[in-house]
Amino acid sequence: MVKFLKYFYISCVYLFLYVPLLVTIVFSFNDSAFAETWNGFTVKWYASLFNDKSLIHAALRSLFLAACVATFSTVVGTIMAIALHRYRFIGQKVVYGSLSVIMLSPEIIQGISLVMIFVILGIPLGFTTLLLSHSVFCFPFVTMTVLARLKGVKRDLSEAAADLGANDVDIFRFILIPLILPALFAGWLMSFTLSLDDVIISFFVSGSRYEILPLKIYSMVRTGIQPDVNALCAALFFLTFFVVMFSYRLVRSKK
């Protein structure tokens, strides 16, 4: 009985988390322009999606941006983690502390401060500013994940490699990178997810020339969102899901 209640409770929480997602997916197949009523199964929204070039473009930009952000912040975050792990330098504690402050600070604080610096420096808002801004709030997650992993790598492994004739580059390539690969992957995925999900920072730093999906949809909210947006979101969800599952498998099998 206690066990049943426990699983019931867990199911309820998951239901709460998944219902809006399910609704989006279900209504993407709904043969009615209004979200409230179910009029039977259709794929016409997927068909009409192909004619909505601006929506498709916005979605592709979002995906492209998220992939760039994930890659860039993985590089930055990993360099940072290795530096924090390996070197002792002035300001190390400040850097370390700032990481958690960045992770905890609400997006609007970062969004406002970044847009101000971009405007003052005269950097035109667009892809570059989006990439930099998203990377600023993503890289601490990579750093923390990689740092945790690095702490688990014993120093004698790199000494053993040096003892067997490996130079610094060899050690990095053959020992360190393979060992922290799962953390790199987790960090990349985290950044990708955060970038796709972000609304507020993008709202401030995207400008008008590089419109990504959440902002496109945000501008549509007041007038009402067409069901082909549901279709797009469902399609994007499945795409992401399969890409992630596939790459997860890949990393697992390599291990």
Binding site: K154, E159, A160, A162, D163, L164, G165, A166, D170, I175
Partner: protein, 370 residues
């Protein structure tokens, strides 16, 4: 015992500081080609640092390390003809046994086919060729140890450094591996420098043992020299169990001297290591297995010459031997190891038995009392 050969590696007045902390103090040490040298000492004595200096993980603060007449003090580890077997083995967890062993040759750019033959040869030597596809996590600690050995000696080092390689193994396996390691060393003909805090291991395997304490070498010599002729109290106490008696020199002869130990007169042979002076204090050291114990049937009778009277206060049965702790009349606790006498299997020692304790003549070690 020492082979008359040119030293392969020499440490010339090597000192090492970590910050203000002096870890090694003016170490002179030469290592001969093909020998099995053990650095023995308690934890923190500097033995591992000494090993890391030879490997190249640390640089000496002052002094020189010379190999085959060339100074190598400032060469990085990847440019020294020296390889290390690490304490926790440091096997690369993401590589198979094969890739672990192949790593060194791969770094040196050997062709693939050659690497393959060499790796299987090396694995054969440690009886691990069946496991070449396994990952380290899938091996027992004994197997990991063998792989770590193979990974190190495949590079044909002039010297193989072993940092307490057996400490992670259980007692039984450790005994077996001691023999295997020794055989492997003979087979390979490579110089081994072996670090351990386990004196039994050191005595069992080494050609020479260097006893380290607080950054200096207290004594270096063959296991027999170290065990039977300890040069000072530290070596005597660290290597094996030993009984220490205080003595006072009362008369000095040509070859011997007279002394009082525990109120008894003894005539002992003069030691060669230092001058015996009349009236000076000395220490008389005796190994437990050199003690002779005999049961006293009549406690009223006088103890014979050269024997101390005592009472067994504690005993430990060890199968082949029995360890007795005997409280002497003078208040000392003497430890004696007795082998079971096949002629007289009925001797049974019990607590509170009254015994006479003496020792086999001339087997004592005399040290000055400082």
């Amino acid at each position: 015992m020492e082979k008359p050969s040119v030293p392969l590696l020499e440490l010339k007045s090597v000192t090492k500081f970590f910050g203000a902390n002096k870890v090694l103090d003016d170490i002179d040490l030469s290592i001969n080609d093909g020998e099995f040298l053990t650095l023995l000492g308690p934890s923190g004595c500097g033995k591992t640092t000494l090993l890391r200096l030879i490997a190249g993980f640390e640089r000496p603060t002052t002094g020189k390390i010379v190999m085959n007449g060339k100074e190598i003090s400032h060469l990085p580890p990847n440019r020294r003809a020296v390889n290390t077997v690490f304490q926790q083995y440091a096997l690369f967890p993401h590589m198979t046994v094969f890739d672990n062993v192949a790593f060194g040759l791969k770094m040196k750019g050997f062709p693939k086919e050659e690497i393959e033959t060499e790796v299987f040869q090396a694995l054969e030597k440690v009886k691990m060729n069946m496991f070449y596809l396994r990952y380290p996590a899938e091996l027992s600690s004994g197997q990991q140890q063998r792989v770590a050995m193979a990974r190190a000696f495949i590079n044909n080092p002039k010297i193989l450094l072993l940092d307490e390689p057996l400490s992670a193994l259980d007692y039984r396996l450790r005994q077996d591996m001691q023999i295997e390691l020794k055989e492997l060393q003979r087979d390979l003909g490579v110089t081994f420098v072996y670090v351990t805090h386990d004196q039994e291991e050191a005595l069992a395997m080494s050609d020479r043992v260097a006893v380290l304490n607080e950054g200096i070498i207290e004594q270096i010599g063959t296991p027999i020299q170290i065990y039977e002729e300890p040069r000072n109290m530290f070596v005597a106490k660290f290597v094996g169990e030993i009984n220490v008696f205080d003595g006072m020199v009362i008369k000095v002869g040509d070859n011997d001297f007279e002394t009082i130990v525990e109120g008894m007169f003894y005539r002992l042979r003069k030691p060669s290591s230092f001058e015996i002076v009349r009236g000076s204090k000395i220490k008389v050291l005796l190994r437990p297995e050199d003690m002779v114990v005999s049961k006293v049937n009549d406690p009223e009778a006088e103890a014979p010459d050269n024997a101390l009277r005592g009472v067994i206060s504690f005993l430990v049965y060890k199968g082949r031997t029995i360890d007795l702790w005997i409280q002497t009349a003078g208040g000392n606790m003497v430890m004696a190891t007795q082998f079971f006498n096949e002629d007289d299997p009925h001797i049974i020692y019990e607590i509170n038995d009254v015994v006479n304790v003496s020792w086999i003549k001339d087997w004592e070690v005399i040290l000055p009392d400082v």
